[in-house]
């Protein structure tokens, strides 16, 4: 059975609980075992603006902790994913390696960098056949995908898919029974990284994307806590910032896979989504998708 060191990241584990709950539940359903990355800290990505040394150190220390466990790291947040992969790449350089290794001694840590770093989307994609086999309640709606910038770019460091035309999320959506399509705003940023110091601009960016999706899709799927925060948690404010009424269901991909696998909504943290997901759920419930053999016409 596959086993990973689980690294949800600060934003997920202190605020976006729906992602963490649904990820843990769905991974266990798929027979993937998780161990906590004990003693882990922030990945350092938000501190890139302040001092790159700190980012490099923080990511390296988290990788060193996984080295001790001898497990690959499973990450939920694209920003963490990029920071860890970037740090690992930079640790291949002699100068960085010796400098950071020296500092790691201060915490009694040794960096080896033997372990891989995976985002949950990569894990799902690798298990796509298993997911397909287990679908009991297909999501018979039309969904749009939001990947999160740091999951795709820079492709040479963190990218898990084609940076200009990714398809892994769409393929997973199809496997769980949903219809999907590409849309012009697909690669647009959610505004999340500048939300706290440029809130108006950030909210407008989020609002514009949701406004473009309304009426064309039934829901948006994300794999990024920043994206979910902007499109779901702050959808109401985003609507105000662009002067439009927004009411569009936004889910984590983990929640959608969970529903398709027949897991109860409560166990997927569905009550924590703040966008009006009932709109999508009621359609799902109404068009009960698993035909009851007794109802089959004679």
């Amino acid at each position: 059975m596959a086993k990973y060191a689980f690294y949800p990241g600060c934003i997920v584990s202190t605020e976006q609980y729906g992602y963490e709950i649904s990820a843990r539940r769905v991974l266990s359903e798929l027979g993937i075992e998780l161990e906590e990355l004990e003693g882990s800290s922030c990945c350092g990505a938000p501190l890139r603006h302040v001092n790159l040394n700190l980012t490099q150190y923080l990511s390296a220390r988290n990788i060193a902790l996984a080295d001790e466990m001898g497990l690959d790291i499973l990450v939920l947040c694209p920003n963490c994913h990029l920071a860890l992969r970037d740090a690992k790449q930079k640790m291949e350089g002699k100068e960085v390696r010796s400098r950071i290794s020296e500092e790691l001694k201060g915490e009694d840590l040794t960096y080896q960098g033997n372990e891989n770093i995976y985002h949950i989307l990569e894990i799902f994609y690798d298990n796509i056949d298993e997911i397909k086999k287990r679908v009991v309640k297909p999501i018979e709606l039309k969904g749009a995908a939001h990947y999160g910038c740091h999951l795709l770019r820079p492709s040479e460091t963190g990218g898990v898919d084609n940076p200009e035309n990714p398809s892994k999320m769409e393929e997973i959506l199809k496997v769980i029974g949903a219809k999907t399509d590409r849309y012009p705003e697909r690669l647009n940023c959610c505004g999340g990284p500048i939300y706290f110091h440029k809130p108006d601009a950030a909210l407008s960016m989020a609002g514009d994307k949701i406004a473009a999706l309304q009426g064309k899709f039934d829901f948006l799927a994300t794999v990024c806590p920043y994206g979910q925060r902007m499109y779901d948690s702050k959808q109401e404010q985003a609507g105000k910032s662009i002067g439009q009424e927004l009411g569009f269901p936004v889910f984590y991909l983990t929640q959608l896979i969970g529903m398709a696998l027949g897991i109860d909504g409560k166990e997927l943290g569905l009550d924590l989504n703040l966008s009006p997901i009932e709109k999508a759920l009621s359609t799902l419930m109404a068009e009960s998708t698993v035909p009851d053999p007794d109802d089959e016409p004679e």
Binding site: H49, Y57, S204
Partner: protein
Amino acid sequence: MTITNLTTMGESEEELRDKIRAQLERIGENIPDMCYQCGKCTSGCEAMKLLELEPHNIMAMVKTGFIEELINSEIIWTCVTCFKCKERCPQKVAPVEVLFLLKNQAVAQGKEIPVNLSNMFQNVLTQGVVQMPLETRTRAGEGVKREDLNLPELQLPKDPAKFQNVLMKLAMEEV
């Protein structure tokens, strides 16, 4: 949100420019001298439409050595870090990485930075994470804490004193 246009009477700050160049080389990035001003970065920049960030302009200024104008300008804090400029540059220049270094330089010089970033820095330094678990709410308006959801305890550095010592030391050092 414009850059104070002092370029016509300013002098090129060669020392600062060389420092940024050396830092870029150290982190494995091309220097802005490679930029031929095609504007591909700016045409796809997520912060251009609403916040008037023009990465090709930033590259030209760094190349010429007008660094102080940039460090003193709010414009460097508008980058959303989408990394499209780095992905698409035909010359493999990475405006997003140059902007990180300009911001790092602004911090090192004690310039005013967005308050949320200094708060996050303080939080990581003292706690190991950007924020401690928040109470969120459900769609029905009920408050929910991490412990209400049967999630395991939040992971934090085991020896905060040692953790803080290393971070403090690194924060003082040049990139």
